[in-house]
Symmetry: C2
Subunit: 105 residues, 2 copies
Amino acid sequence: MSLLSGLWSPEIIWSLSKGARRFSEIRRNIPGISAKVLTGRLRDLERRGVLSRSVIPTSPPTVEYELTSLGEELLPAIQSIVEVGTRLILRDRQLHDSDVPLKPD
Amino acid sequence: MSLLSGLWSPEIIWSLSKGARRFSEIRRNIPGISAKVLTGRLRDLERRGVLSRSVIPTSPPTVEYELTSLGEELLPAIQSIVEVGTRLILRDRQLHDSDVPLKPD
DNA sequence: CCGTATCCAAAGAGATACTG
DNA sequence: CAGTATCTCTTTGGATACGG
């Protein structure tokens, strides 16, 4: 299960679902993540074989991250967890709303 | 994603996949988990709506934990993550074995 | 642009002892 | 049986500053 460990790993994997992305693109894509944490998570996911890192020797250097085929296999799992979570949130909101109904405007 | 947060939560959910279990049954089922951690995770998962806790007033008391319907929806996701992880481990072992081949007995 | 270094705080988890 | 109470250690993450 450590494949998805870390607060941001699922979002990082998700942000690579549509193809290779650069460091700064991923960072912009995930509001709130710091460079340090993003670097740490990317290194961890690389070591585990979930994504690959390739440096293109331009100036300044370009670094691209891409899911491996095994990384891509995690996408459906992430999606279904997010779906369950969304339903839980909606259900909670409904329970709360029925306690305190909105007055019609 | 916090639905699966905590080192042991996926295993706890998994151990309830075949129906309701008592505290001590879950604990026996998951070697290495302490009572404190199990209690903490169960409370967390209950609060999030993944499982339910019911006390049967016998003496000594019986406490049963059971997945909610939303909890059950997490099972396929857990299974597919475990499958990817297993393939990663097997692939790594293969790579390592090809470096240091076993000598035929 | 793509990071590393440092320091700090908070959360999880392990071990152990104790309880209604 | 099914927990709670401590205490300690480690891991993560946030903030900030700096570097090739």
